[in-house]
Amino acid sequence: MSKVVNSIREAVRLAGLKDGMTVSFHHHLRNGDYVLNMVMEEIAALGIRDLCVNASSLFDVHLPLTEHIRNGVVTNLISDYISGGIGRVLSTGILPNPIQFRTHGGRPFDISTGKTPIDVAFIAAPTADPMGNCSGKYGPSACGSLGYAFADAMYAKKVVVITDNLVPYPMQDFSISENYVDYVVTVDAIGNPKGIVSGTTKITRDPVGLVMAANAAKVIQASGLLKDGFSFQTGAGGATLAAAKFLKDIMLKEGIQGSFGLGGITGYMVDMLRSGCFRSLMDVQCFDLKAVESIREDPRHQEISALQYASPGSKSAVVDSLDVVLLGATEIDTDFNVNVHTDSNGYIMGGSGGHSDTSAGAKLSMIIAPMFRARLPIVTDRVSCISTPGRDIDVLVTQGGIAVNPKNGELTQRLKAAGLPIVDIQELKEKTERLTGKPAPVPKGDQVVAQVIGRNGDLLDQIYKPL
Protein backbone atom coordinates (compact mmCIF):
# COMPACT_ATOMS: atom_id res chain seq x y z
CA MET A 1 0.00 0.00 0.00
CA SER A 2 1.06 3.55 -0.48
CA LYS A 3 -0.13 6.60 1.34
CA VAL A 4 1.81 8.99 -0.87
CA VAL A 5 -0.49 11.03 -3.10
CA ASN A 6 0.52 13.48 -5.81
CA SER A 7 -0.97 16.71 -4.60
CA ILE A 8 -2.73 18.44 -1.77
CA ARG A 9 -5.82 18.62 -3.96
CA GLU A 10 -5.85 14.85 -4.40
CA ALA A 11 -5.41 14.34 -0.66
CA VAL A 12 -8.33 16.69 0.04
CA ARG A 13 -10.48 14.78 -2.43
CA LEU A 14 -9.47 11.35 -1.13
CA ALA A 15 -10.09 12.47 2.46
CA GLY A 16 -13.67 13.16 1.43
CA LEU A 17 -13.79 16.77 2.53
CA LYS A 18 -17.26 18.24 2.03
CA ASP A 19 -19.19 21.42 2.71
CA GLY A 20 -19.65 22.17 6.40
CA MET A 21 -16.80 19.99 7.65
CA THR A 22 -13.88 20.91 9.91
CA VAL A 23 -10.21 21.05 8.92
CA SER A 24 -7.35 21.56 11.34
CA PHE A 25 -3.82 22.96 11.37
CA HIS A 26 -1.02 23.33 13.92
CA HIS A 27 1.23 26.36 14.23
CA HIS A 28 4.79 25.17 14.82
CA LEU A 29 5.87 26.84 11.57
CA ARG A 30 4.49 30.07 13.03
CA ASN A 31 4.84 33.12 10.77
CA GLY A 32 6.81 31.05 8.25
CA ASP A 33 3.98 28.56 7.60
CA TYR A 34 3.02 27.87 3.98
CA VAL A 35 0.80 24.86 4.63
CA LEU A 36 -2.44 26.45 5.82
CA ASN A 37 -2.52 28.83 2.85
CA MET A 38 -1.62 26.10 0.33
CA VAL A 39 -4.31 23.77 1.65
CA MET A 40 -7.03 26.41 1.86
CA GLU A 41 -6.28 27.54 -1.69
CA GLU A 42 -6.81 23.97 -2.96
CA ILE A 43 -9.96 23.58 -0.90
CA ALA A 44 -11.35 26.84 -2.28
CA ALA A 45 -10.46 25.76 -5.82
CA LEU A 46 -12.45 22.56 -5.29
CA GLY A 47 -15.49 24.68 -4.49
CA ILE A 48 -15.91 23.36 -0.95
CA ARG A 49 -17.67 25.86 1.32
CA ASP A 50 -18.89 26.57 4.82
CA LEU A 51 -15.88 25.03 6.55
CA CYS A 52 -14.72 25.33 10.12
CA VAL A 53 -10.98 25.94 10.47
CA ASN A 54 -9.54 24.75 13.77
CA ALA A 55 -5.98 26.16 13.88
CA SER A 56 -3.94 26.04 17.08
CA SER A 57 -2.75 29.57 16.23
CA LEU A 58 -2.96 32.00 13.34
CA PHE A 59 -0.23 34.43 12.29
CA ASP A 60 -0.13 37.33 9.88
CA VAL A 61 1.24 35.01 7.18
CA HIS A 62 -2.28 33.54 7.19
CA LEU A 63 -3.97 36.76 6.00
CA PRO A 64 -5.14 34.99 2.78
CA LEU A 65 -7.54 33.10 5.07
CA THR A 66 -9.56 36.29 5.38
CA GLU A 67 -10.34 36.08 1.64
CA HIS A 68 -11.65 32.53 2.07
CA ILE A 69 -13.84 33.88 4.87
CA ARG A 70 -15.17 36.71 2.68
CA ASN A 71 -15.89 34.17 -0.07
CA GLY A 72 -17.83 31.82 2.20
CA VAL A 73 -15.28 28.98 2.05
CA VAL A 74 -14.70 29.38 5.79
CA THR A 75 -17.55 30.31 8.11
CA ASN A 76 -16.26 29.15 11.51
CA LEU A 77 -12.92 29.58 13.20
CA ILE A 78 -11.46 27.97 16.31
CA SER A 79 -8.03 29.09 17.51
CA ASP A 80 -5.93 29.61 20.63
CA TYR A 81 -4.04 32.67 19.45
CA ILE A 82 -4.46 35.14 16.55
CA SER A 83 -1.71 37.68 15.89
CA GLY A 84 -2.37 41.39 15.44
CA GLY A 85 -2.37 41.83 11.66
CA ILE A 86 -4.92 39.12 10.84
CA GLY A 87 -6.61 39.75 14.19
CA ARG A 88 -7.38 43.31 13.15
CA VAL A 89 -9.19 42.11 10.03
CA LEU A 90 -11.08 39.40 11.91
CA SER A 91 -12.10 41.96 14.54
CA THR A 92 -14.17 43.75 11.92
CA GLY A 93 -16.62 40.86 11.97
CA ILE A 94 -16.11 39.30 8.55
CA LEU A 95 -17.04 35.85 9.89
CA PRO A 96 -20.76 35.04 10.05
CA ASN A 97 -20.16 33.30 13.41
CA PRO A 98 -18.02 34.41 16.36
CA ILE A 99 -14.47 33.05 16.51
CA GLN A 100 -14.13 30.47 19.27
CA PHE A 101 -10.96 31.12 21.23
CA ARG A 102 -9.74 28.12 23.17
CA THR A 103 -6.55 27.48 25.13
CA HIS A 104 -3.60 25.26 24.28
CA GLY A 105 -4.99 22.77 26.81
CA GLY A 106 -8.69 23.23 26.08
CA ARG A 107 -8.28 22.80 22.33
CA PRO A 108 -6.86 19.26 22.41
CA PHE A 109 -9.26 18.33 25.22
CA ASP A 110 -12.26 19.37 23.14
CA ILE A 111 -10.83 17.53 20.13
CA SER A 112 -10.30 14.38 22.21
CA THR A 113 -13.83 14.38 23.61
CA GLY A 114 -15.47 15.04 20.26
CA LYS A 115 -16.84 18.42 21.34
CA THR A 116 -14.94 19.95 18.41
CA PRO A 117 -14.45 17.02 16.04
CA ILE A 118 -12.00 17.30 13.15
CA ASP A 119 -12.81 15.77 9.78
CA VAL A 120 -9.45 16.31 8.12
CA ALA A 121 -6.23 17.29 9.91
CA PHE A 122 -3.33 18.66 7.91
CA ILE A 123 0.02 18.09 9.61
CA ALA A 124 2.92 20.23 8.41
CA ALA A 125 5.83 17.85 8.91
CA PRO A 126 9.46 18.95 8.46
CA THR A 127 10.39 15.28 7.90
CA ALA A 128 8.17 12.28 7.13
CA ASP A 129 8.34 8.82 5.62
CA PRO A 130 5.93 7.37 3.03
CA MET A 131 3.74 5.80 5.74
CA GLY A 132 3.36 9.06 7.60
CA ASN A 133 5.73 8.67 10.53
CA CYS A 134 6.86 12.26 10.99
CA SER A 135 8.89 14.66 13.07
CA GLY A 136 9.65 18.35 13.42
CA LYS A 137 13.24 17.83 14.50
CA TYR A 138 14.82 17.23 11.10
CA GLY A 139 14.80 18.68 7.61
CA PRO A 140 15.23 22.08 5.98
CA SER A 141 12.08 23.42 7.68
CA ALA A 142 12.82 21.94 11.11
CA CYS A 143 10.70 23.47 13.85
CA GLY A 144 11.47 21.12 16.76
CA SER A 145 8.48 19.90 18.73
CA LEU A 146 5.18 19.03 17.01
CA GLY A 147 3.33 19.15 20.34
CA TYR A 148 0.12 20.86 19.18
CA ALA A 149 -0.38 18.46 16.25
CA PHE A 150 -0.74 15.26 18.29
CA ALA A 151 -4.40 15.61 19.23
CA ASP A 152 -5.26 16.47 15.62
CA ALA A 153 -3.42 13.37 14.38
CA MET A 154 -4.93 11.10 17.03
CA TYR A 155 -8.56 12.16 16.79
CA ALA A 156 -9.22 13.52 13.28
CA LYS A 157 -11.20 11.23 10.99
CA LYS A 158 -8.61 11.66 8.23
CA VAL A 159 -5.01 12.80 8.63
CA VAL A 160 -2.87 14.26 5.84
CA VAL A 161 0.86 14.70 6.44
CA ILE A 162 2.44 17.39 4.26
CA THR A 163 6.24 17.42 4.08
CA ASP A 164 9.15 18.89 2.14
CA ASN A 165 11.56 16.19 3.33
CA LEU A 166 10.38 12.68 2.53
CA VAL A 167 12.82 10.03 3.83
CA PRO A 168 12.79 6.22 3.40
CA TYR A 169 10.56 4.11 5.65
CA PRO A 170 10.90 3.86 8.57
CA MET A 171 12.25 7.21 9.63
CA GLN A 172 14.13 7.28 12.90
CA ASP A 173 12.98 9.16 15.95
CA PHE A 174 9.50 10.00 14.65
CA SER A 175 7.07 11.98 16.79
CA ILE A 176 3.68 11.25 15.25
CA SER A 177 3.31 7.67 14.14
CA GLU A 178 1.96 6.13 10.93
CA ASN A 179 -1.01 4.44 12.58
CA TYR A 180 -2.80 7.81 12.65
CA VAL A 181 -1.94 8.91 9.10
CA ASP A 182 -4.02 8.39 5.95
CA TYR A 183 -2.15 10.32 3.25
CA VAL A 184 1.30 11.79 2.70
CA VAL A 185 1.94 14.68 0.30
CA THR A 186 5.31 16.09 -0.73
CA VAL A 187 5.60 19.80 -1.55
CA ASP A 188 8.58 22.02 -2.44
CA ALA A 189 8.56 23.84 0.89
CA ILE A 190 6.28 23.73 3.90
CA GLY A 191 7.57 27.00 5.25
CA ASN A 192 10.09 29.79 5.29
CA PRO A 193 12.76 28.96 7.88
CA LYS A 194 13.18 32.69 8.63
CA GLY A 195 9.63 32.90 9.89
CA ILE A 196 9.55 29.46 11.53
CA VAL A 197 12.13 30.13 14.21
CA SER A 198 13.45 33.43 15.38
CA GLY A 199 17.04 34.22 16.14
CA THR A 200 17.99 34.47 19.76
CA THR A 201 15.70 36.85 21.60
CA LYS A 202 17.84 39.41 23.37
CA ILE A 203 17.49 39.90 27.08
CA THR A 204 16.12 43.37 27.69
CA ARG A 205 18.51 46.22 28.47
CA ASP A 206 15.68 48.56 29.30
CA PRO A 207 16.19 49.62 32.95
CA VAL A 208 12.45 49.37 33.66
CA GLY A 209 12.42 45.82 32.32
CA LEU A 210 15.47 44.91 34.40
CA VAL A 211 13.90 46.23 37.60
CA MET A 212 10.78 44.14 36.95
CA ALA A 213 12.86 41.09 36.10
CA ALA A 214 15.01 41.41 39.24
CA ASN A 215 11.88 41.78 41.37
CA ALA A 216 10.27 38.77 39.71
CA ALA A 217 13.32 36.62 40.48
CA LYS A 218 13.24 37.82 44.10
CA VAL A 219 9.54 36.92 44.37
CA ILE A 220 10.31 33.38 43.19
CA GLN A 221 13.21 33.16 45.64
CA ALA A 222 11.09 34.39 48.54
CA SER A 223 8.06 32.24 47.63
CA GLY A 224 9.52 29.11 49.21
CA LEU A 225 9.17 27.20 45.91
CA LEU A 226 12.76 27.65 44.75
CA LYS A 227 14.40 24.47 45.98
CA ASP A 228 15.61 21.17 44.48
CA GLY A 229 12.94 19.84 42.14
CA PHE A 230 11.74 23.34 41.19
CA SER A 231 9.82 23.57 37.89
CA PHE A 232 9.37 26.64 35.75
CA GLN A 233 7.82 28.10 32.59
CA THR A 234 8.51 31.51 31.12
CA GLY A 235 7.53 33.42 28.04
CA ALA A 236 9.91 34.63 25.34
CA GLY A 237 9.57 38.35 25.99
CA GLY A 238 12.62 40.46 26.83
CA ALA A 239 11.61 41.09 30.47
CA THR A 240 10.58 37.50 31.25
CA LEU A 241 13.86 36.27 29.73
CA ALA A 242 15.74 38.72 31.93
CA ALA A 243 13.86 37.32 34.92
CA ALA A 244 14.97 33.83 33.87
CA LYS A 245 18.56 35.09 33.77
CA PHE A 246 18.34 36.46 37.31
CA LEU A 247 16.68 33.21 38.40
CA LYS A 248 19.46 31.18 36.78
CA ASP A 249 22.07 33.21 38.69
CA ILE A 250 20.29 32.50 41.98
CA MET A 251 19.92 28.77 41.21
CA LEU A 252 23.59 28.38 40.27
CA LYS A 253 24.79 30.39 43.25
CA GLU A 254 22.71 28.35 45.68
CA GLY A 255 23.26 25.02 43.94
CA ILE A 256 19.56 24.39 43.31
CA GLN A 257 18.70 21.76 40.69
CA GLY A 258 15.20 22.05 39.32
CA SER A 259 13.20 19.20 37.85
CA PHE A 260 11.97 20.66 34.56
CA GLY A 261 11.53 23.72 32.41
CA LEU A 262 8.25 23.77 30.48
CA GLY A 263 6.66 25.43 27.54
CA GLY A 264 7.39 27.02 24.42
CA ILE A 265 11.14 26.55 24.82
CA THR A 266 13.73 29.21 24.00
CA GLY A 267 17.51 29.00 23.78
CA TYR A 268 17.57 30.58 27.19
CA MET A 269 15.82 27.60 28.77
CA VAL A 270 18.31 25.38 26.91
CA ASP A 271 21.14 27.31 28.59
CA MET A 272 19.49 26.68 31.96
CA LEU A 273 19.26 22.96 31.19
CA ARG A 274 22.90 22.76 30.10
CA SER A 275 24.16 24.67 33.12
CA GLY A 276 22.37 22.28 35.45
CA CYS A 277 19.37 24.38 36.55
CA PHE A 278 16.96 21.65 35.38
CA ARG A 279 17.11 17.91 34.86
CA SER A 280 14.78 18.09 31.86
CA LEU A 281 12.89 20.32 29.44
CA MET A 282 9.30 19.48 28.48
CA ASP A 283 8.69 21.05 25.08
CA VAL A 284 5.41 21.59 23.27
CA GLN A 285 6.88 24.14 20.84
CA CYS A 286 10.37 25.46 20.00
CA PHE A 287 10.82 29.20 19.65
CA ASP A 288 14.33 29.43 18.24
CA LEU A 289 17.09 27.51 16.45
CA LYS A 290 18.92 26.67 19.65
CA ALA A 291 15.81 24.99 21.05
CA VAL A 292 15.34 23.03 17.79
CA GLU A 293 18.94 21.84 17.92
CA SER A 294 18.61 20.89 21.58
CA ILE A 295 15.42 18.84 21.20
CA ARG A 296 17.10 16.96 18.34
CA GLU A 297 20.42 16.30 20.14
CA ASP A 298 19.72 16.17 23.87
CA PRO A 299 17.57 13.34 25.27
CA ARG A 300 16.87 15.40 28.40
CA HIS A 301 14.95 17.83 26.15
CA GLN A 302 11.66 16.03 25.56
CA GLU A 303 8.80 16.61 23.16
CA ILE A 304 5.33 16.60 24.74
CA SER A 305 1.87 16.75 23.17
CA ALA A 306 -0.54 19.57 23.98
CA LEU A 307 -2.68 16.93 25.71
CA GLN A 308 0.17 16.15 28.07
CA TYR A 309 1.14 19.81 28.33
CA ALA A 310 -2.11 21.29 29.43
CA SER A 311 -5.32 19.38 28.76
CA PRO A 312 -7.73 19.71 31.68
CA GLY A 313 -9.08 16.25 30.82
CA SER A 314 -5.80 14.34 30.87
CA LYS A 315 -5.24 11.99 33.80
CA SER A 316 -2.42 14.39 34.52
CA ALA A 317 -0.89 17.24 32.56
CA VAL A 318 2.55 18.77 33.03
CA VAL A 319 1.03 22.12 34.05
CA ASP A 320 -0.36 20.34 37.13
CA SER A 321 3.23 19.72 38.29
CA LEU A 322 4.40 23.26 37.55
CA ASP A 323 5.71 25.43 40.38
CA VAL A 324 6.12 28.86 38.78
CA VAL A 325 5.04 30.47 35.52
CA LEU A 326 6.03 33.96 34.35
CA LEU A 327 3.52 35.53 31.98
CA GLY A 328 2.73 38.82 30.30
CA ALA A 329 -0.46 40.85 30.04
CA THR A 330 -1.87 43.68 27.96
CA GLU A 331 -4.17 44.59 30.86
CA ILE A 332 -4.85 43.31 34.36
CA ASP A 333 -7.71 44.52 36.52
CA THR A 334 -8.03 45.09 40.24
CA ASP A 335 -9.53 41.56 40.53
CA PHE A 336 -6.37 40.21 38.79
CA ASN A 337 -8.25 39.17 35.63
CA VAL A 338 -5.80 39.30 32.70
CA ASN A 339 -6.33 40.28 29.08
CA VAL A 340 -3.99 38.89 26.43
CA HIS A 341 -6.57 38.81 23.61
CA THR A 342 -7.19 42.43 22.63
CA ASP A 343 -5.29 45.69 22.32
CA SER A 344 -6.26 48.98 23.93
CA ASN A 345 -8.79 49.70 21.19
CA GLY A 346 -10.45 46.31 21.38
CA TYR A 347 -8.85 44.67 18.35
CA ILE A 348 -7.77 41.02 18.54
CA MET A 349 -3.99 40.78 18.81
CA GLY A 350 -3.26 37.57 20.69
CA GLY A 351 -4.97 34.91 22.66
CA SER A 352 -4.57 32.70 25.65
CA GLY A 353 -2.22 30.15 24.17
CA GLY A 354 -1.05 28.43 27.34
CA HIS A 355 -1.62 31.49 29.54
CA SER A 356 -4.69 30.31 31.39
CA ASP A 357 -3.65 26.63 31.41
CA THR A 358 -0.34 27.34 33.11
CA SER A 359 -1.92 29.92 35.42
CA ALA A 360 -4.45 27.36 36.56
CA GLY A 361 -1.87 24.63 37.03
CA ALA A 362 1.11 26.47 38.51
CA LYS A 363 1.48 26.95 42.24
CA LEU A 364 2.65 30.51 41.61
CA SER A 365 1.51 32.36 38.50
CA MET A 366 3.15 35.72 37.99
CA ILE A 367 2.44 38.52 35.58
CA ILE A 368 5.34 40.78 34.63
CA ALA A 369 4.30 44.06 33.06
CA PRO A 370 5.27 47.72 33.18
CA MET A 371 2.95 50.13 35.05
CA PHE A 372 2.04 51.63 31.69
CA ARG A 373 2.87 51.21 28.01
CA ALA A 374 2.66 54.23 25.74
CA ARG A 375 0.62 56.08 28.38
CA LEU A 376 -1.88 53.24 28.84
CA PRO A 377 -1.99 51.97 32.44
CA ILE A 378 -1.64 48.21 32.81
CA VAL A 379 -4.04 48.06 35.77
CA THR A 380 -7.67 48.85 34.96
CA ASP A 381 -10.97 48.61 36.83
CA ARG A 382 -12.08 45.86 34.46
CA VAL A 383 -10.09 44.32 31.61
CA SER A 384 -11.70 44.73 28.20
CA CYS A 385 -11.49 40.95 27.75
CA ILE A 386 -11.00 38.26 30.39
CA SER A 387 -8.42 35.82 29.01
CA THR A 388 -7.35 34.34 32.34
CA PRO A 389 -9.59 34.67 35.39
CA GLY A 390 -8.12 36.51 38.37
CA ARG A 391 -8.57 33.50 40.65
CA ASP A 392 -5.67 31.85 38.79
CA ILE A 393 -3.26 34.81 39.00
CA ASP A 394 -1.14 35.20 42.13
CA VAL A 395 1.21 38.13 41.64
CA LEU A 396 1.68 41.19 39.42
CA VAL A 397 5.24 42.51 39.20
CA THR A 398 5.75 46.07 37.92
CA GLN A 399 8.55 48.61 38.31
CA GLY A 400 6.31 50.49 40.73
CA GLY A 401 5.73 47.63 43.13
CA ILE A 402 4.50 44.08 43.45
CA ALA A 403 0.77 43.43 43.88
CA VAL A 404 -0.29 40.12 45.42
CA ASN A 405 -3.75 38.66 44.90
CA PRO A 406 -5.44 39.03 48.32
CA LYS A 407 -6.31 35.30 48.28
CA ASN A 408 -2.58 34.67 48.98
CA GLY A 409 -2.18 35.91 52.54
CA GLU A 410 0.79 33.70 53.32
CA LEU A 411 2.66 34.67 50.17
CA THR A 412 2.14 38.34 50.97
CA GLN A 413 3.74 37.81 54.38
CA ARG A 414 6.70 35.95 52.88
CA LEU A 415 7.34 38.65 50.28
CA LYS A 416 7.02 41.42 52.87
CA ALA A 417 9.42 39.58 55.16
CA ALA A 418 11.90 39.44 52.27
CA GLY A 419 11.72 43.23 52.02
CA LEU A 420 10.02 43.29 48.61
CA PRO A 421 7.99 46.37 47.66
CA ILE A 422 4.44 45.08 48.09
CA VAL A 423 1.63 47.37 46.99
CA ASP A 424 -2.16 47.04 46.93
CA ILE A 425 -3.30 46.69 43.31
CA GLN A 426 -5.80 49.53 43.72
CA GLU A 427 -3.01 51.79 45.00
CA LEU A 428 -0.81 50.70 42.10
CA LYS A 429 -3.59 51.68 39.71
CA GLU A 430 -3.94 55.11 41.32
CA LYS A 431 -0.17 55.63 41.43
CA THR A 432 0.03 54.83 37.70
CA GLU A 433 -2.86 57.13 36.81
CA ARG A 434 -1.14 60.02 38.59
CA LEU A 435 1.57 59.68 35.93
CA THR A 436 -0.56 58.87 32.88
CA GLY A 437 -3.88 60.55 33.58
CA LYS A 438 -7.09 58.53 33.64
CA PRO A 439 -7.89 57.01 30.24
CA ALA A 440 -11.34 57.58 28.81
CA PRO A 441 -13.27 54.30 28.38
CA VAL A 442 -13.24 52.92 24.83
CA PRO A 443 -16.77 52.19 23.64
CA LYS A 444 -17.53 48.70 22.32
CA GLY A 445 -19.75 47.80 19.39
CA ASP A 446 -22.72 45.40 19.54
CA GLN A 447 -21.54 42.62 17.27
CA VAL A 448 -19.81 39.71 19.03
CA VAL A 449 -16.77 38.78 16.91
CA ALA A 450 -15.23 36.23 19.27
CA GLN A 451 -16.00 34.09 22.28
CA VAL A 452 -13.28 33.35 24.80
CA ILE A 453 -13.76 29.81 26.05
CA GLY A 454 -11.86 28.90 29.20
CA ARG A 455 -9.85 25.69 29.48
CA ASN A 456 -12.77 23.95 31.18
CA GLY A 457 -15.24 24.95 28.49
CA ASP A 458 -16.84 27.88 30.31
CA LEU A 459 -17.51 31.08 28.38
CA LEU A 460 -15.09 33.57 29.97
CA ASP A 461 -15.85 36.61 27.86
CA GLN A 462 -16.91 37.92 24.47
CA ILE A 463 -15.01 40.23 22.15
CA TYR A 464 -17.06 42.89 20.34
CA LYS A 465 -16.38 44.56 17.02
CA PRO A 466 -14.61 47.84 17.79
CA LEU A 467 -16.55 50.95 16.78
Binding site: S344, N345, R373, A374, R375, L376, L435, T436, G437, P439, A440, V442
Partner: protein, 89 residues
Protein backbone atom coordinates in the same frame (compact mmCIF):
# COMPACT_ATOMS: atom_id res chain seq x y z
CA UNK B 1 5.16 86.92 20.36
CA UNK B 2 4.10 84.88 17.39
CA UNK B 3 5.71 81.99 15.64
CA UNK B 4 8.20 83.25 13.05
CA UNK B 5 9.10 80.05 11.26
CA UNK B 6 8.25 76.46 10.91
CA UNK B 7 9.83 74.38 13.70
CA UNK B 8 9.63 70.93 15.21
CA UNK B 9 10.50 69.05 18.39
CA UNK B 10 10.35 65.45 19.60
CA UNK B 11 10.55 62.09 17.89
CA UNK B 12 8.23 59.35 16.64
CA UNK B 13 9.57 56.86 19.20
CA UNK B 14 7.07 55.01 21.36
CA UNK B 15 6.13 57.08 24.43
CA UNK B 16 7.29 60.31 22.77
CA UNK B 17 5.52 62.90 20.64
CA UNK B 18 6.57 64.75 17.51
CA UNK B 19 5.38 68.35 17.41
CA UNK B 20 5.45 70.68 14.39
CA UNK B 21 4.53 74.31 14.62
CA UNK B 22 4.26 76.94 11.91
CA UNK B 23 3.16 80.55 11.57
CA UNK B 24 -0.53 81.27 11.03
CA UNK B 25 -2.62 84.41 10.91
CA UNK B 26 -6.01 83.46 12.34
CA UNK B 27 -5.78 81.80 15.74
CA UNK B 28 -4.57 78.38 16.75
CA UNK B 29 -5.30 75.27 14.77
CA UNK B 30 -4.41 71.82 16.07
CA UNK B 31 -4.06 68.60 14.16
CA UNK B 32 -3.64 65.54 16.39
CA UNK B 33 -2.72 61.99 15.55
CA UNK B 34 -2.29 59.63 18.50
CA UNK B 35 -2.05 55.94 19.29
CA UNK B 36 -4.15 56.69 22.38
CA UNK B 37 -6.65 59.02 20.70
CA UNK B 38 -9.63 57.14 22.14
CA UNK B 39 -8.28 57.21 25.67
CA UNK B 40 -6.41 60.52 25.86
CA UNK B 41 -7.29 62.60 22.77
CA UNK B 42 -9.16 65.27 24.69
CA UNK B 43 -6.54 65.44 27.45
CA UNK B 44 -3.77 65.87 24.88
CA UNK B 45 -5.67 68.73 23.17
CA UNK B 46 -6.14 70.46 26.53
CA UNK B 47 -2.45 70.03 27.34
CA UNK B 48 -1.33 71.52 24.04
CA UNK B 49 -3.75 74.45 24.23
CA UNK B 50 -2.70 75.20 27.80
CA UNK B 51 1.01 75.29 26.85
CA UNK B 52 0.27 77.57 23.90
CA UNK B 53 -1.77 79.88 26.14
CA UNK B 54 0.93 79.90 28.78
CA UNK B 55 3.50 80.80 26.12
CA UNK B 56 1.26 83.54 24.76
CA UNK B 57 0.97 81.97 21.32
CA UNK B 58 -2.20 83.31 19.73
CA UNK B 59 -1.64 82.35 16.11
CA UNK B 60 -0.09 79.07 15.07
CA UNK B 61 -0.70 75.90 13.16
CA UNK B 62 0.26 72.90 15.30
CA UNK B 63 0.52 69.29 14.25
CA UNK B 64 1.22 66.50 16.75
CA UNK B 65 2.00 62.87 16.15
CA UNK B 66 1.69 61.31 19.58
CA UNK B 67 3.11 57.87 20.31
CA UNK B 68 1.71 57.59 23.81
CA UNK B 69 3.72 60.34 25.51
CA UNK B 70 3.03 61.31 29.11
CA UNK B 71 1.61 64.79 29.68
CA UNK B 72 4.97 66.15 30.91
CA UNK B 73 6.61 64.97 27.67
CA UNK B 74 3.94 66.59 25.50
CA UNK B 75 4.30 69.87 27.41
CA UNK B 76 8.08 69.81 26.95
CA UNK B 77 7.88 69.00 23.25
CA UNK B 78 5.34 71.76 22.58
CA UNK B 79 7.38 74.31 24.57
CA UNK B 80 10.52 73.35 22.64
CA UNK B 81 8.73 73.67 19.30
CA UNK B 82 7.40 77.10 20.29
CA UNK B 83 10.88 78.30 21.37
CA UNK B 84 12.38 77.11 18.08
CA UNK B 85 9.57 78.68 16.09
CA UNK B 86 10.35 81.99 17.76
CA UNK B 87 14.04 81.52 17.07
CA UNK B 88 14.75 81.48 20.77
CA UNK B 89 16.45 78.14 20.65
Amino acid sequence: MDIKKRAAAGTMESSDAYVEIEPASQGVSLELESVVLNQFGEQIRQTVLSVLAQEGVENAKVRIIDRGALECVIRARVEAAVCRGREEA
